[in-house]
Amino acid sequence: MSKVRTLILRAPGTNCDVETAFAFEQAGAVASLVHISQLISNAKQLKDYQIMVIPGGFTYGDDLGAGKVLANEIRLKLGQDIERFTENGGLILGICNGFQVLVKTGILPGILPTSKPPLTLTTNDSGRFECRWVSLGVNRESRCVFTRGIERLYLPVAHGEGKVVADPEVLPKLDVALYYTDEQGDKASYPYNPNGSVENIAGICDASGRIFALMPHPERFIRGSQHPRWQSEDTKEWGDGFRIFTNAVKWAQGL
């Protein structure tokens, strides 16, 4: 069986591309780093891939709002190609800045016509960029293929604009795959919810379950020694984030 191919999209200011590629490779996929200018000049190459990832970073400096400039570029120049990619069963993962980009393109949540985006990600309630580890609960009802079989996760976040804000009528329609919790798994406020996200939303997926985005960084916890307390706690060889990648690769193998 040929290996699953993953496209890791780079843009000016992307900075988590290398470790994200490493995570997919550890999970058994082939990962290629592709610059946005390269993809725009040859969008057909998308069909060679089963998974597309928009990794973390500060694309275009996050000027005008996190992910905004890249989101516009993707929407205007690659919108149809990405639609075709997902219609053909492709998976899309957005991490941190990738979440912001997917929301601001309208690709997520994908439940309404894109003319009026129903939700956005905005400045943390603390007003600060913060890097900290968070506990996450996984919604078992979610259609998300990336989080299948996972109950809880412990992952780092590092962002200044991770607060999900949504119109009230949109909230019940969202497929919330991941939410922030305290150490016991209950919903809790800051600092457990690091940004003030509505309903503790940490990650969402579309109706197909194949487009998924989250603020925490699974690629930063793929082996046990990345855990902040691996010296004192029994940590496994693989980190919590790793299963997101193996899930994606396993699903894509079936394509």
Partner: protein, 953 residues
């Protein structure tokens, strides 16, 4: 012209504004209830209403959270509302708006082609009862920095046409100058008398006057910042003469040690050591003090940007994998009436430099894993901002490249503007009250995304071997970068080919500009096409601006006109050596006269809550320390991820177990007593941290960074000599060579006829290779019932200690280092760690045993009971407070499981150590004195609260 104003929907909280409310409260103004921050965009364009609406809806405003106004009368509301004040702040002309590039790009993506230029501004709507004076204080203390910004009074931002520049050669009449005129030239270019005489003699031989570009080139190349002329001076110290302090101390140690793993020392932009035989590590720390004093955010941001370019400019370009930063600042609670005129308040400098480092470092995707923050009132006018970076490079590319005549000079990265002109001479001068008013051209904001594009493109170009040499454009701009690169060959540069941010720059301005995010490559002609195409594909600019020759001359052209023609020999070897005098006398400081307090809990709480010791979590969390996925030991450790880690460990190669340890040592308060022992202590501290986290001394390299007052004063220079000698002496015994360094002199401030000098400050940064990162140890107590050992000897050494400082004394018994003993002890402790016998380890520094045990306990969410009775003493000490808070060097607290007791003690045998207590589950820290009387009993939660409270902003 269009003006667009974007604001948050009124029902949403404004996080930026709430931060400002807190800052306003800190100013002592408590009547402000709310601040809203509005983004203003000025567009130089004539758009149709539908185009403008589309632009706002799809780009400038977020449809879920924001609303906007275009070109309408929108200020009516605040004019009629007496409790609402509006302050609009825009960038000064000539300051590059960091957001402009992104907006221009995004506007084009939307298919709107006729926007000629964009500027941004901010409008603050402040609600509360304020006097005119209070509003002015808020505005000048928090909202506007006149160096880069101004308050918009008349609601129109102009887009002036830049005037075109017409070439006109400027010559300086040096040969005809005498007396006062000569002094004026010397002053203008910051030359010493000897230097100007040498230059005059050179041009006399040439039978012509110098051009301005020639004198500027000499001024930059011969500046303290570029050539370290104090460290290379002939120093008369008593009866001895030191011909080149650097070569005789710091560099001599490296030569004597002659370690085969030192790959490139004191020659390139960073020092380089072998990592694993295949990869090498580069390490460099720089200061960016003067720019940070006048514009903290921009100064610190360009500091991190600059040191990262040093890493990219080492060998044939390394990948930056870690950032470290150390700040020395005035106390955040300094009363405003003690603030010298023209100086920013320490709290504002603190917040500004923190934000600058975070915004720039985070955007580059480089984890900031290590650092330190120190406070002393003498840093108020001269804050120190050290920025450092580690790079990873294939060992085969780790030596400085060498171009061939005929190779092209290629300028890559950002465009050139008037930014930072004369930054180097500014950096080497003393600050005055007026500095903040006149130094505006020396400061800029920096654009991290331009630098990130540059990193991405460069590493690809390196791997395709498209260039033969690289250096960064730092201080002195092209004049230093190209002048240095071409020293052994020669070069012709066509200045009119340099891409500019705006028209109107003269050839000299282009040559001297310190615009950020630029580097210079030597590119073989046959590679240039591929290189230019590669940079274009990464969205990074690359331009051929000249070629290297074999003529050993520096020739500058503007269009067809020759603007400079200097011999490389004279430029690089023609500088007369400085002669300086050094003296040093041990200062006298009184010992405290108070008796030991019966209960030491209060003293411990006070030290934990002091600015120097207290938690810096507020800062650390705002740095991304997880990016690149490499961190093994994080800056915040322990049960709640908030204890103070001793050193950072990372695994730079994701599938290798080998790691890097980075640490730092800095103790300026010891320098008030004796700079020799200050330097020795700083080295010991940096090494202790490496040992504490599980490293060893087998492969440790050091960097020195001296920040000093004016070294033309013999006693300051004498102090520098002593510190440098300690660097040599300690490095030899510890076998830890120096691989690079930097100095920043003249950190003084003059006002009202007084001169305030910073304390002598030496930052030692250490990098170490760790064979197996699974041996890493964190400092938090792990298990109740475990034994707590002290390793090392305690002396009556509280001179310069936090304990004495809290009592209002300096003292005279400065902590010394016995390096032979210390090395033996560290080697044994490393062995114990390697064998897995150490569960937790914390090095003892400020606050001694007291602070260390408290930190270990609260980080582990455990209690501890320790007794001072068995602490090994090097001399009789009859007071518990002195034992508890002594800051003697080369000491550690170690947690050992009871089962490992015998083996641990066997390995440590013949060193100085003792078991002094146990970890407990009580949640209480109990300390017993030398007479077995309880001298402190205090809940760990209370200790932690005291430690966390000061900087919980």
């Amino acid at each position: 012209m269009h003006r667009v104003e974007v604001y948050l929907k009124s029902h949403l909280p404004d996080a930026r504004g709430q931060g400002l409310v807190r800052d306003i409260n800190d100013l002592g103004i408590t009547t402000v209830s709310d601040v809203r921050v509005l983004d203003i965009y000025w567009l130089d364009a004539a758009l149709r209403p539908d185009e403008l609406d589309m632009l706002c809806q799809q780009l400038l405003a977020d449809p879920v959270t924001q609303e906007y106004h275009c070109d309408t009368e929108f200020k009516s509301q605040d004019k009629t509302d007496p409790g609402l004040y509006s302050v609009e702040v825009a960038y000064n002309a000539g300051v590059t708006d960091p957001v402009e590039d992104s907006i221009t790009k995004a506007v084009l993506d939307l298919g709107i082609k006729d926007v000629r230029a964009v500027k941004t501004a901010k409008r603050y709507l402040i609600r509360g009862e304020l006097s005119k004076n209070e509003l002015e204080v808020i505005s000048s203390s928090l909202l506007v920095n006149p160096i880069i910004q101004h308050v918009v009074e008349h609601e129109v931002v102009a887009f002036p046409e830049s005037p075109r520049y017409h070439f006109k050669l400027r010559e300086i009449d040096l040969l005809g100058a005498e007396g006062a005129k000569l002094s004026e030239i010397a002053h203008q270019f910051s030359f010493t008398k000897d230097e100007l005489e040498a230059i005059a003699a050179y041009f006399k031989k040439q039978e012509r006057n110098p051009t301005d570009a020639e004198l500027e080139t000499l001024a930059q190349t011969w500046s303290e910042h570029c050539v370290h002329k104090t460290f290379r001076a002939k120093i008369h110290s008593g009866d001895t003469v030191i011909d080149n302090l650097l070569k005789n101390t710091v560099m001599r140690a490296t030569e004597e040690l002659n370690k085969p793993w030192c790959l490139s020392v004191f020659e390139d932009n960073a020092g380089v050591i072998d990592f694993d035989g295949r990869w090498a590590l580069c390490f460099k720390v720089e200061t960016h003090n003067h720019p940070s004093a006048v514009e903290p955010y921009g100064g610190a941001a360009t500091g991190i940007g600059g040191v990262v370019r040093d890493i990219m400019g080492t060998g044939l370009s390394a990948k930056p994998i870690l950032a470290t930063d150390v700040f020395c600042l005035g106390p955040p609670d300094l009363p405003y009436d003690r603030l010298p005129p023209g100086v920013l308040h320490p709290r504002r400098i603190f917040k500004g430099v923190r934000a600058g480092v975070a915004d720039y470092g985070n955007r580059l995707g480089i984890p900031t894993l290590n650092g330190a923050i120190l406070f002393d009132e003498r840093y108020t006018a001269n804050p120190l901002v050290y920025c450092g970076s580690v790079g990873l490079i294939p060992k085969s590319l780790s030596r400085m490249g060498q171009q061939k005549p005929g190779d092209l000079v290629v300028l890559v990265g950002g465009r050139t503007g008037r930014d930072g002109i004369h930054g180097v001479t500014f950096a080497s001068e003393q600050l005055t009250q007026e500095s903040t008013a006149v130094s505006y051209t020396s400061v800029q904001i920096g654009n991290p995304i331009v630098e990130k594009r540059l990193i991405d493109a460069l590493l690809k170009a390196r791997d395709r071997r498209l260039f033969t040499r690289i250096t960064d454009c730092g201080g002195g701009g092209l004049s230093s970068a190209v002048g240095e690169m071409a020293a052994e060959t020669g070069v012709r540069v066509y200045l009119d080919r340099v891409p500019l941010k705006y028209a109107g720059l003269s050839y000299t301005e282009i040559w001297l500009s310190e615009s950020q995010e630029r580097m210079v490559l030597a590119v073989p002609a046959e590679c240039s096409e591929e290189l230019l195409a590669l940079f274009a594909s990464e969205g990074s600019e690359a331009t051929v601006i000249g070629e290297f020759t074999d003529k050993r001359r520096l020739k500058l052209f503007y269009q067809e006109n020759l603007a400079a023609d200097l011999s490389m020999e004279f430029l690089h070897r023609g500088r007369p050596q400085l002669e300086l005098k050094a003296t040093w006398q041990k200062p006298q400081h009184a010992e405290p006269d108070s008796a030991q307090p019966p209960d030491l809990a209060e003293a411990l709480l006070k030290i934990l809550g002091s600015w120097n010791v207290c938690s810096k979590e507020w800062v650390i969390r705002q740095y991304d320390h997880e990016v690149q996925g490499s961190s093994v030991l994080k800056p915040l450790v322990g049960r709640d991820n908030d204890g103070p880690g001793d050193a950072a460990i990372l695994r730079p190669i994701l599938d290798s177990k080998m790691g890097i340890i980075v640490s730092n040592g800095i103790n300026p308060k010891y320098g008030d007593i004796d700079p020799y022992w200050m330097a020795a202590s700083a080295i010991d501290e940096a090494l202790r941290q490496i040992i504490a986290v599980g490293g060893n001394l087998k492969r440790v390299a050091l960097l020195d960074n001296f920040s000093w007052g004016n070294t033309n004063r013999p006693h300051n220079l004498g102090a520098l000599v002593r510190a440098a000698q300690a660097c040599h002496d300690m490095a030899i015994v510890y076998e830890t060579p120096f691989i690079s360094g930097k100095d920043s002199l003249n950190n003084e401030f003059e006002f009202e006829g007084k001169t305030i000098s910073i304390p002598h400050t030496l930052l030692i940064s250490a990098i170490s290779v760790m064979e197996d990162t699974s041996r890493a140890v964190s400092m938090d107590l792990k298990q109740a019932g475990d034994l707590i050992y002290i390793v090392g000897t305690t002396q009556n050494e509280l001179g310069g200690s936090e304990y004495f400082r809290n009592l209002g004394f300096v003292g005279s018994r400065v902590p010394k280092v016995k390096p032979h003993q210390a090395k033996k002890l560290m080697d044994r402790l490393s062995l114990a760690t390697e064998q897995g016998l150490v569960r937790a380890c914390h090095d003892l520094s400020e606050g001694g045993i007291g602070v260390a045990i408290a930190e270990m306990a609260f980080a582990g969410r455990l209690g501890a009971a320790v007794s001072l009775k068995d602490v090994p003493l090097g001399e009789p000490i009859d007071r518990d407070d002195l034992v508890l808070f002594s800051e003697s060097n080369s000491r550690f607290l170690v947690e050992v499981a009871p089962d490992d007791k015998a083996e641990f003690e066997r390995i440590l045998a013949k060193t100085s150590f003792a078991c002094i207590g146990r970890a407990t589950s009580s949640g209480i820290l109990e300390i017993y004195g030398t007479r077995e009387k309880k001298v402190a009993s205090i809940s760990v939660a209370k200790l932690k609260e005291a430690w966390q409270r000061p900087i919980r902003w």
